[in-house]
Symmetry: C2
Subunit: 171 residues, 2 copies
C-alpha cells in the first residue's frame, strides 16, 4: 500500500499518463494526414478534421490562463476554432501551422504539469474566486485538466469516424 | 490548502464527479430516444446509437470483475456489444432492456465507488498480478475507472453526431 503522502502523487501520475497518451494519439492521428485529408468531415455536414484539431488545440491553449500559467500562446486560435463554427469566412491555420501550435502548447503544458505537487494541483484555477473556492474546493486545477482531457477524448472519438473503417480503433 | 490526508480524497471526488456527469448525460441522451431513433447511425455505415449505448454499458459492466466487485451483471452483453460488431446476426437488447441494464450497472458501480478510500482506489485491479503491480503501481482501480470514463466520453462524442446539428452540444 502507498504511504498517504504518495497517494495524491500517484493519482496525478495516473491522470497525466492518460493526458499524455491522449495528446500523443491525437497528434499521431491528425499529424499523419495530408492537408486534403484534413478537409474531410467527420460525418456529412459536420466539422472538418482540421477544425476539430484546431478546436482541441485552442481549448488546450486556454489552460494557460485558466491554470495561472500566463496568457494563451495562440490567442488567434480562439476565433478560428472556438467562437466561430467551422467554415466561417475567416482564415484559419494551415496543417503545418496547426501542428507546430499543437506541439508547442502541449510541450509547455507538460512542463508545468510535471512540476506541480498534489497541493499545486488542488489549488484553485483562475475562473473561481477565493470565496467560491472555499465552498467548492473541487474547482481546482486538477479538475480543469481532467475536464480538458475528457474534451480531447470526446472530439477524438469524432475524428476517428473520418478514417476508413477499422473496428480496433473504435474500441 | 488541503491537509495531506484529504488530497487523495479530493482528487477522487473530482474524478467521481466527472464520472457521474458523464454517466448522467449519456442516459439522458440515449434514454430520451425512441427505438426508431436508436436505429440511427452516427455516420453513414458506422455504428447505430443502440449499439454504442450497449457498448458503453457492456464495457462499464466489465468494471465489476476488473475492480474485484464480482462477476458481470449482464454477461450476455459482451457478445451483443463488444466481441461482435454492430448488425451481427444475433439478438440484442431492446431499448427498454438496455436502459434497465444501464441504470442497474451504474447504480451498483456508484455504490462501490462512493465507499472506497484513496487506499482502496490505489489497490491493484484484477488484470494485473501482484508482481507486476509492484513494478507498475499505476495499474490500479483508479486508473481503470479513469480509463472507462474516457471510454464513455469517446463514444458519447460520436453518439452526439446523430443529433440534429446543435453547436452548443458539441463543445
Amino acid at each position: 500500500m502507498q504511504p498517504v503522502e504518495g497517494r495524491g502523487q500517484l493519482m496525478i501520475d495516473t491522470t497525466l499518463r492518460s493526458w499524455k497518451d491522449n495528446a500523443n494519439r491525437i497528434v499521431k492521428f491528425f499529424g499523419a494526414l495530408s492537408p486534403e485529408q484534413l478537409e474531410q468531415e467527420v460525418a456529412p455536414g459536420r466539422n472538418r478534421l482540421i477544425y476539430l484539431w484546431g478546436h482541441i488545440a485552442a481549448v488546450n491553449d486556454g489552460l494557460f490562463p485558466l491554470l495561472g500559467l500566463g496568457p494563451r500562446h495562440y490567442p488567434e486560435m480562439e476565433a478560428m476554432f472556438v467562437t466561430n463554427p467551422d467554415r466561417a469566412p475567416i482564415t484559419i491555420y494551415s496543417a503545418v501551422e496547426l501542428k507546430e501550435a499543437w506541439n508547442h502548447i502541449n510541450e509547455k503544458l507538460l512542463v508545468a504539469f510535471i512540476g506541480w505537487s498534489p497541493a499545486d494541483w488542488l489549488a484553485r484555477h483562475t475562473a473561481v474566486s477565493a470565496e467560491e473556492f472555499g465552498r467548492e474546493p473541487h474547482r481546482n486545477r486538477y479538475a480543469a485538466m481532467l475536464s480538458r482531457n475528457m474534451h480531447m477524448t470526446y472530439h477524438f472519438g469524432q475524428a476517428i469516424l473520418a478514417k476508413p473503417r477499422d473496428p480496433q480503433a473504435e474500441g
